[in-house]
């Protein structure tokens, strides 16, 4: 099917987005796999209606965040509430140990945020402006600004507590 191959090709190019969302929202590797699968299927179902009015990456972010936020978690496996696995940070090729520590602490702080706040942080890290973030989240840019200020304060306090 030409539609299927174009979809697979686009997802192949943008799959980093899905990986990032899964990594931010799920701690358990199996949960990440399940979420990846759910995002793929959700995107595939709505792909026929994708008219290219927005960038594919923006559209995929919307689908991925929606799926992650409303994802049903099996009781045995919980959403990320603890720090990200330490190995992840160690595996990263950072020269500076201070940078590694800073990243670990910041990840721990982000892990304490709510699912909605995590979505905002994700979009902020991707350099979306407040207008675009507002559109994706369904809130006004002013609201995004207020929320981002609160999130930054929360993170600052959490970082202090963790460090």
């Amino acid at each position: 099917m030409p539609e299927e191959s174009s979809f697979i090709s686009l997802i192949g190019t943008h799959q980093r987005i899905i990986h990032k969302v899964c990594r931010l929202y799920m701690q358990d590797p199996q949960d990440r796999k399940d979420l990846f699968q759910e995002i793929m299927l959700a995107a595939w179902k709505s792909y026929p209606q994708f008219r290219g009015e927005a960038r594919f990456s923006t559209w995929l972010y919307r689908v991925a965040l929606n799926t992650a936020i409303t994802f049903f978690r099996k009781e045995q496996r919980q959403p990320i509430t603890a720090p990200l696995p330490h190995q992840m940070m160690q595996a990263a090729d950072y020269n500076d140990t201070t940078e590694q520590e800073q990243l670990t602490v910041m990840h721990q702080a982000i892990a304490q945020l709510s699912a909605v706040d995590k979505a905002l942080v994700m979009l902020y890290l991707e350099d979306y402006n407040y207008n675009e973030m507002g559109e994706m989240m369904g809130i006004t840019p002013n609201n995004v600004a207020v929320k981002m200020n609160r999130i930054k304060t929360k993170l600052k306090q959490a970082v202090k507590t963790i460090a």
Partner: protein
């Protein structure tokens, strides 16, 4: 240390160690079944629609077997209930399809999921309770018709105690089913709904 200070590093860290998937592996995923709550509801809708078709067919069989006005009235009541519930289920199914095809912004998306799950749970409770009286009345009516047509009703030794025991059983059983259904719905969707409502609150307060 603030988020802005390590924004670039954070981005890099999230991309580290990503096991990028091949096109074949991505394609393979499209054939698998989703585990989402919405999909589970969709599957339940098909199951319940099949159950209503069976109920309606059962009512057709009763209509043809028993030529009594009361039986025919109950058959008609069953059809009306089956048609009403099925129409509602089909509308809900259509709503889910729309939800799946047009991804809304996060806030609206959460509201839509809450709405779909709430509608489904309410319908589930209504079906459990709405169909109960029909089933009991059907059972009693068919029993009465069978016994009276065989002349066994006159030989049956009725007592007031038996009547009360029968009524108590029906009421007790209905109450039991009501609470079991409520517990089951809460177990399946209660915690999930609470989570979604909390997320909606998070996004609205700001």
């Amino acid at each position: 240390m603030e988020l802005d200070d390590i924004k670039t590093l954070m981005n890099g860290a999230l991309e580290q160690e990503m096991e990028l998937r091949s096109s074949a592996s991505l394609q393979d995923m499209l054939g698998k079944q989703t585990q989402s709550v919405i999909q589970r509801i969709k599957r339940s809708i098909w199951f319940e629609l099949s159950a209503f078709i069976l109920f309606a067919l059962g009512a057709v069989a009763c209509w043809l077997l028993y030529h009594r006005l009361l039986v025919h009235l109950f058959c008609m009541a069953t059809w009306v209930l089956c048609i009403a519930f099925s129409a509602y289920l089909l509308l809900l199914h259509r709503r889910i399809n729309f939800y799946e095809q047009f991804p809304a912004p996060v806030k609206e998306n959460i509201q839509q999921v809450i709405d779909i799950v709430t509608r489904f749970t309410k319908l589930y409770a209504a079906i459990s309770l709405g169909m109960l009286p029909v089933i009991y009345c059907f059972g009693l009516l068919i029993g009465y018709v069978e016994l009276s047509s065989n002349g066994l009703l006159q030989q049956f030794a009725w007592s007031e105690g038996m009547l009360y025991a029968g009524i108590a059983f029906i009421v007790g059983w209905s109450v039991f089913i009501f609470f079991i259904s409520k517990w089951y719905i809460r177990k399946l969707y209660g915690h999930y709904l609470l989570q979604l409502q909390q997320q909606l609150k998070d996004i609205e307060n700001g």
